[in-house]
Assembly symmetry: C2
Homo-oligomer: 196 residues x 2
């Protein structure tokens, strides 16, 4: 857009958001300036506060504003179970099921050699130290069922088994509510193998 | 995501951006906090500065940080021509062609009765005053070739013709570089009618 350096700077900064190209950035800037300046100021404050205040939980590595997050501090949870997930959003999905009452370790990523993301980047040493604190008995691997998520689960599983821990993986199978006719064959094959 | 009010506030604020739902907002927040805190701070500053500094040009209504924008102040431009566009992005597209050296009026929207956007919201009185300053001879309607853009052009055109101005519209026709076989029939029909 023409002739305003504040506007150009805003469009460029919006492009730092994942999945936002030049057209989307222009559309976002136009919308905020023309229709929602209060939204622009609210987002500015939220970004600055989050960037300043949010750090990683010393125990589970998720985002938190304290040294240790509220989940890790919750005494009613089962501290003998540790569920390993890729992201806070995955943790949030598991929490919404209300089917798990143990603790978490959030990798904040997954092993991805092609993107140069190795064991250090997802804090595997921290995870191994955390899982061998003497209290944790079972580690549940809940990384995604993608190639990289499976590889990450495999690496963590092997390392923890060799340290004498019980390691389990979320079951693969047919999604609840689905008709077999429309489920992909790989999923049905896994459901057969993992039948109980 | 669990347990951080700064994080929840950030996700909610990101949803104020057009086209951003809860999943995208979570993905954006995760990316900025995990991989690009400098980007988060840069975006915070850009938003606050733009919201505080950007106003509308008194002559053409586009975004600017001064009372009158640099385009309107440019003495080398042809002040007898006024091109009406919907948004700064449309103006920018026309500028990139380098085929137009007149001035602009930016509606910052289009007539859209269903969304409650009427003549006042797109500054039609300002446009009529601007176009009848005695210097402007020709008004070029360059609103989009959508139903609402066409309706907006029609309303403006009728009003300005009745005030004795020469009013033209961007030509409709076959896009440069296209093969007729793949051009939609309405476009070909318009290109026939507007043949020269
Ligand atoms: Zn924690
Ligand atoms: Zn101007």
């Amino acid at each position: 857009m023409a002739g305003s350096s504040s506007l150009d700077a805003l469009v460029q900064a919006l492009r730092r958001l994942p999945g936002v190209g030049i057209k989307s950035a222009q559309r976002m800037a136009f919308h905020l300036l023309q229709h929602d300046r209060e939204g622009a100021r609210m987002l500015a404050r939220a970004l600055a506060q989050a960037a300043d205040n949010i750090k990683h939980c010393e125990l589970c590595h998720t985002f938190t504003e304290s040294a240790i997050c509220s989940t890790c501090l919750d005494e009613r949870r089962d501290h003998s179970k540790l569920c390993v997930v890729e992201t806070p959003a995955d943790q949030s999905a598991l929490e919404r099921t209300a089917a798990y009452k143990g603790l978490y370790f959030v990798l904040m990523g997954k092993l991805s050699p092609l993107d140069g993301i190795g064991p250090k980047d997802i804090g595997l040493q921290k995870l191994f130290a955390r899982a061998t604190d003497g209290v944790v008995q079972e580690v549940i691997l809940a990384t995604n069922f993608t190639a990289e998520g499976e590889a990450t689960a495999h690496v963590i599983g092997e390392a923890l088994k060799s340290r004498g821990l019980q390691v389990t993986r979320l079951a693969r199978g047919v999604p609840a509510g689905s008709e077999l006719e429309y489920v992909d064959l790989g999923t049905i094959a896994h459901a057969l193998v993992d039948r109980r």
